[in-house]
Symmetry: C2
Subunit: 611 residues, 2 copies
């Protein structure tokens, strides 16, 4: 019934826009015994170059191969740019609906199932996306040799490996990667990232030096620079190849588009993110699961984030979703900082993109408002409008402004596009079993995170502006985190706090704060470890009516850290919280933050400890 209503709305929208949407039933136009639906879909789209079309599948399996897919060089933020192939290539289209009716789409090859570019009112519903062959390899530790820094790993047959010299090539979707590269350890007993997995990973560069010698069958002795020691017997390694070449094929990419809706979509896998949107407006994901296929032996869904939004605006709504077993975050909402490289004239600068996976990013258009932030403190210095933006190459762009800005700007300062931040609603979702964080929030507009259940191997909610590594922008102004359940998280061993408000600033000026107005209320924290919230550089942090109960699931990794750690904050309200542990919870707060802090009606807390 709900779908009928939504479809009706789609037609209404199309009708208002003056175009009657045509419905094409794929099974009616496909050749008999069709083995590759890529050209079929392409023909349909070619016949409707402006859109106004519903493409309807029946609830069965459809295979899509890369061979005859449309291709071109394509830049995807937070991925590896390159020559890309697409199955559904929606460019300059309006009013397109892809309705799977429960179909399963199986992809073959390094390709992106759906591209939505310069398009509007696009709906994808009722379908599942998977790949015949995964973009990672997986193997169980048969024997572990901590002293020899080695482990015997028996690789599964569902992905392809190819020994060459003393390496193992990963052959995935006919793409060869010459190194094991980035790794993660999973525990088959929990189906999640293993407890303290971080200690047994092989880092990015180090993944290029692992030596692999065949022991028997599909079992190899892998000798490597493990962070601390190889994972124990029975645990499962996943390798996805080296950084820089392992984010090639996200499932759905939206760029410079608006009114994008996904409903009842399942993404079982992708060689990159599940849904990545950049410079797009009004996006609604409802019941979009990134989850393992029932009964699968695979430990991993997407090899990067489930969802990711860079400089989107309007409303980003993510609700009723299950995000599990990704190799990166469930959602990351942010903007991208450019850095001032040279001041060319009073109103013109040369600016630089700084992270390889942001190269080619189309940062701004004429009319956009840009905030100039200080090179060191990343605090605002001025705001100005863009009159022209011209890419010199994938790294550098020339930006002209409406006003003379030479007194407000210095080489090294950051530039963020404040015309492109969304309101964010992340609600009633479940995040679990994945590598990395649950959600990263960097938007100056309202953000509401409620009714979710979080359990990731790192921090659940991370706030982290920085101008020195990821270059992700978006100091917050109005965040509400309520009615969530924070179950065990940070069990991977490399993050500590459940909520981590940590703008990466080394020097913080007095009376200036990067983040503003974060309310954390009515949540349940149920964690094996002590740390709950770290907050740095926040003006207006409310933590109230939360319940904190140790879970006892794992041995504590940080028994000496406090539950709360507050630094350089102002206007803290900490009230009505209940700690239900055997001992009392500890709050560490610096004297500056304590001045304006208001603690009351909390139970189970020790005296405030200031330094």
């Amino acid at each position: 019934m709900r779908h009928l209503v939504l479809s009706g709305m789609f037609f209404l929208y199309a009708a208002i826009c003056g175009h009657a949407a045509v419905t094409v039933y794929v099974d009616d136009v496909a050749p008999e015994n069709c083995r590759d639906y890529t050209p079929v879909v392409q023909d349909i789209l070619d016949s409707h170059p402006e859109g106004n079309v519903r493409i309807v599948f029946s609830g069965r399996e459809y295979h899509f191969h890369r061979t005859y897919a449309k291709g071109r060089y394509h830049e995807i933020t937070n991925h590896d740019n390159g020559y890309k192939y697409f199955a559904f290539m929606l460019e300059n289209m309006k009013n397109v609906e892809i309705d799977g009716n429960g179909a399963e789409f199986i992809f073959h090859g390094v390709m992106t199932p759906v591209l939505i570019e310069n398009s509007e009112n696009i709906t994808i519903r009722n379908l599942a996306i998977d790949w015949e062959e995964p973009f990672f390899i997986q193997g169980t530790v048969i024997r572990s040799y901590p002293e020899e820094k080695a482990a015997d790993i028996e690789f599964t047959g569902f992905s392809r490996i190819q020994p060459e010299g003393n390496r193992l090539n990963i052959v995935s979707n006919d793409n060869e990667m010459y190194f094991l590269g980035e790794s993660m350890v999973f525990d088959p007993a929990t189906g999640a990232v293993a407890y303290n997995a971080h200690a047994s990973t092989i880092g990015g560069t180090r993944g290029r030096t692992a030596e692999c010698v065949r022991i028997s069958g599909n079992t190899y002795r892998v000798k490597a620079e493990f962070a601390k020691k190889p994972a124990g017997e029975g645990l499962v390694y996943v390798f996805k190849g080296p950084n820089g070449s392992n984010r090639l094929a996200p499932a759905i990419h939206a760029k410079s588009s608006s009114d994008i809706s996904m409903e009842d979509v399942t993404i079982h896998h992708a060689g990159g993110m599940g849904f990545i949107a950049e410079k797009s407006e009004d996006i609604h994901l409802d019941n979009v699961d990134v989850r393992l296929r029932d009964g699968t032996d695979r430990m991993v869904t997407t090899t990067a984030d489930a969802t990711h939004f860079c400089n989107c605006r309007g409303k980003v709504i993510i609700e009723n979703c299950l995000f599990e077993n990704m190799l990166d975050d469930a959602a990351n909402v942010h903007g991208t900082y450019l850095k001032v490289d040279r001041i060319l004239s009073g109103n013109k600068v040369l600016a630089k993109l700084n992270h390889r996976q942001q190269f080619g990013y189309d940062f701004a258009d004429a009319g956009d408002r840009i905030r100039i932030v200080d090179a060191v403190s990343i605090l605002p210095k001025a705001e100005v409008s863009v009159t022209s933006y011209r890419q010199i190459n994938e790294v550098y762009a020339e930006i002209s402004f409406s006003d003379d800005i030479k007194d407000d700007i210095a080489v090294g300062d950051g530039l963020e596009n404040i015309s492109w931040y969304p309101e964010l609603y992340f609600r009633n979702n479940i995040v679990r079993n994945n590598r990395a964080r649950s959600i990263l929030v960097s938007t100056g507009n309202k953000a509401v995170i409620e009714g979710n259940t979080f359990s990731s191997m790192m921090t659940s909610i991370l706030f982290e502006g920085d101008l020195n590594h990821w270059h992700e922008s978006g100091a917050v102004n109005n965040v509400i985190i309520r009615n969530n359940r924070f179950l065990d998280c940070c069990y991977g061993g490399n993050n500590a706090f459940v909520i981590w408000i940590n703008p990466r600033v080394s020097e913080m000026p007095e009376d200036k704060y990067f983040e503003k107005n974060i309310t954390i209320e009515d949540n349940i924290f149920n964690s094996f470890d002590r740390p709950v919230v770290y907050a740095k550089s926040v003006d207006g942090l409310i933590f109230r009516n939360n319940s904190i109960t140790p879970s006892g699931t794992y041995p504590q990794l940080r028994p000496d850290m406090p539950e709360f750690d507050i630094e350089h904050c102002r206007n803290i309200i900490f009230s009505g919280n209940r700690y239900n542990g055997d001992s009392q919870a500890e709050i560490k707060i610096d004297s500056e933050s304590e001045k304006s802090a208001d603690f009351r009606k909390n139970s189970g807390f020790a005296d405030i400890c200031t330094d």
Copy 2:
């Protein structure tokens, strides 16, 4: 005086085209103490978007960095496609002259000095091109361990290596390659590729398995799968990284352009070819040297061909040039075969590019004449005109024809674009000391090769159409090879004949011949080894008035092979040739070819041997 005349012609041309060319003296517009001329040149070109400009340097050193160079994804035939950076980016321009006045241009970074695209009447003169850092590494064999398949190699300081695990990364122009990759052996005593170098190379894939352990300083023990044995002490290895990532930065790329002239230009180095032209018309290279800088320690100039012409037309004239120490041929003139992948309708096919380094090649335009050739014999089946050409992706294109061709075509057949072949004049050039061949000739139009001196480690002149590896098209019709000196060649050990007419066809139909009308006359052959000419599938081969004298330079590699080997040919004239060896020269000819052969007035030859 000659330059004044030429400059005058340039201005005359510009004047005829209705545009007065403006002269810009770079030193007048550059900032003081300019360290990077890339933005300076870019500003000049941006100020003259239609061209009509002479850009004049003074005879000194200019440095060009990649940092602020214009960039975009760019396909270059017979290279590795990718995101490219350009110093002189000539697009949609007419009447541009770059006059170095003897300047030396030193490049920094993976970039292409000059791009000429959709442009006409472009002249480059009086300058030299080099890179601060070469795209290869070089090292001398200190000790050789044939039994252990190892050699201790002391690498030079002029290129950067970075040990990682048991590999050596090549760090060139800030680009990291993780394997030694393709290799060649040079002899410092001759400054050329070493005698029988082929036996000591490490092949492409095998270059990924070499193990390198540091012995001391810059000396590493390299254990590898040498073709036969490691090179002896004192010989020099050059490694350029693995195939697929070592042709990134040719010096000059011309694409879809016409009237291109280079005079008095020296290319000391490039990370790819020296001059690569595709789909371009009327090209004149006069005194364009690809040669080592005087006094350099480097063994290598360009890491691929000195010059290369794919589907060019009009006249290609290459004269008075010195081509030395390249890691590939001096010149390769050919077209590119596509293969019929599917017949879509009576006049429409899906066609495929087959070699990775041809991906994205813009094969044809409406109006071009296409020859359909048989999948097995590569002999002509029909000719037809293109009405539309549409790339689906970098591998596949949809081609529509003016006529119904379904009776003339089968899946697997080749397609060649016969509207795009040049007349070729290759005269008064010297080719020496390089890896691979001197020149490859594949054009259906007149080709004259005269007055040259050839001495390459493989075949001097190769004719080789094929539809199974390189997919290079261009059966010849009218070739004259005269007054050349063929000195020692094929000394590298992997090619045998000085002139090798060898279309790659396994089954040859009777009375059908791939090549036609090749005249080889008045040449001097002065080679250490026995084989001189191999000819297969030629109708009309004249070999006359040539003088052949064994050089004695090296021990013979092929003492049991005949001087001449003729197979499946017709209308052979072999007359007036003189063999000046101690014994008699041998001609091996099959009975089919002998039927129409005419042998007379030769001296120093044994009786004809037929099989």
